[in-house]
Symmetry: C2
Subunit: 329 residues, 2 copies
């Protein structure tokens, strides 16, 4: 598969990672399937479908690569942590889809679309609970501290996004704070959990790395939402604008173009007006500026690695940082 | 306040409990307020309102009384556990209200009614996360095991209720299983957490006591839903029937009256038809039969106490068992 590997940065990374990384990811995948199949409750299929639908498994990958960088890849803590972060991520997706009323996720019907709102609320709650249970089974409390901090941040980010919906006075700082909460915090937790047995210094340092990658990831996502990138995001261009979610491209474009600044997002009326606003945002150069900022975060993330790890230890995480850029730009 | 105390079984219990019980409950109440105020996020007010709206604090009380029975009432573990179980309970209320579209809870507007669905999803998630964080801060993993088990059960119970909605073939066994999941499991966790430092035997024994009390509590609730008890439940009579939730009174009545058995809950049409069905269920004696069963659980709960604790240690929990009956029948 080396020809494909060259085309796909994540695959290239896995090829470089060798069997230990692949084995850990496979074990996490196997365990994820068991956890949801074994839920022993009605509508467990909804949870199982959510997990089976896949996704990039970027957060488990971060756990595994952080553990690998710390030389602590062996052992159940890695699998537990990888499973727990993916379960939390999946729980938030299921709950987000209730809010957005999304019909499709990863090309499949969402839990809310297929089974209704009650099932989606319960499925998300169940996935959250399973995540914490997975770590509790490991017998250490510190991983639970790390994960609860992240899950609080995710919920806070979601609340912040809702509070700021349709507001045209959202500052760049506030936008970035929201990205930290709703995206970067779980990336951070993934790295901290993976590297934990290697010591607090490494775990803390890698958490900073992950925060920057997480910010970059969210910024690229928000750029794609305006630029149109259905093949990456699975969403139509302008989905954020439709929801009233104010992101960096819109904030920057509003500073540069009074007509963009004066748009009332509540009055966007159908696909044509959304497409027109996307085009107008793009015309200000706001997408390039947003991408530049994201690339800056990636660069500083990689610098952070340099202060923490010997070159041979940082290769994989460095490739992951590149992969975030390559898949998103 | 002794004249009031005589009228209110919970107050009578607190009077008997003495200052140590009162202090622990007050500390938990104080901490609950701090936790939600300190959430440091937008819409934290929604979480704070939910907590401030009160409720009976039955689950914190169970924690405190179990700790008292075990002679382990001193110390932060009791406060943490009391706070954590109430936060989990509050999280499920906020999420349940999304599903039911409930406008009022404890006489105040629900989070979903006041702030919308997104805020309610996020607020519930935040309260869940805070609950686990509260226990993680205690540095012991066993409490987290206990609470995650309960929160999984709650979510599973909610999913089960939804899966069984409108189904007329729900058996008594399945109904009871649902009650165990959605109500008794958290009562169980409360007692197990309170008694934990006193040893596994006591914690396990009290968990069984709590399961029975929890079942009784839910059965009385379901009787009140048919009998009409808005002053207790804050809901109109027949709310379960309106949601398609099949409870013990309906199951028993259906065995006794073919006309009840043949009702299609989806076709209930307005208040008059719901009131008529409630009356018809009552006419079969199903409410008395359900109450009898609940009283049986209370009696067996109290027997359970007798096998576990010396008489002077079981007084308060025994009063609590009585309070569940007195407030609900």
């Amino acid at each position: 598969m080396s020809t494909q590997a060259a085309a796909d940065p994540l695959q290239r990374l896995l090829d470089r990672g060798g069997p230990a990384v692949g084995d850990a990811l496979a074990a996490a995948e196997e365990r994820l399937r068991t956890v949801v199949a074994d839920a022993g409750v009605p509508l467990a299929p909804a949870a199982a479908e959510t997990i089976a639908a896949g996704g990039k498994r970027l957060r488990p990958l971060l756990v595994v690569l952080a553990a690998s960088a710390g030389g602590v890849l062996e052992g159940q803590h890695v699998v537990r942590a990888a499973v727990a972060v993916e379960l939390v991520h999946s729980a938030t997706l299921v709950h987000d889809d209730i809010v957005d009323g999304a019909r499709l996720r990863r090309g499949r019907p969402t839990v809310v679309a297929r089974h209704g709102r009650a099932a989606a609320v319960g499925t998300g709650d169940l996935l959250f609970s399973r995540a914490f249970a997975e770590l509790a089974a490991g017998g250490e409390v510190e991983p639970l501290r790390i994960l609860t901090r992240a899950s609080r941040a995710l919920a806070a980010g979601e609340l912040m996004q809702r509070e700021d919906a349709y507001r045209r006075d959202v500052s760049v700082e506030r936008y970035l704070r929201r990205c930290e909460l709703k995206t970067a915090a779980l990336f951070e937790a993934a790295c901290a959990l993976g590297a934990l047995p290697a010591g607090d210094d490494l775990a803390g340092g890698l958490a900073l790395f992950a925060r920057r990658i997480g910010l970059a990831f969210q910024l690229f996502d928000d750029v794609l939402d305006v630029a149109g990138g259905e093949e990456h995001t699975g969403k139509k261009a302008g989905a954020d604008l439709r929801d009233g979610t104010v992101t960096l491209p819109l904030i920057i474009a509003s500073e540069r173009d009074g007509a963009v600044a004066s748009v009332d997002l509540r009055e966007l009326d159908g696909e044509a007006s959304i497409a027109a606003l996307c085009a107008r945002i793009a015309a200000t150069g706001a997408l390039e500026s947003s991408r530049e900022r994201a690339l800056g975060y990636v660069a500083s993330a990689k610098e952070q690695l340099g202060t923490l790890l010997a070159p041979d230890r940082r290769v994989l995480l460095s490739l992951l940082a590149d992969a975030v850029v390559e898949r998103r730009s």
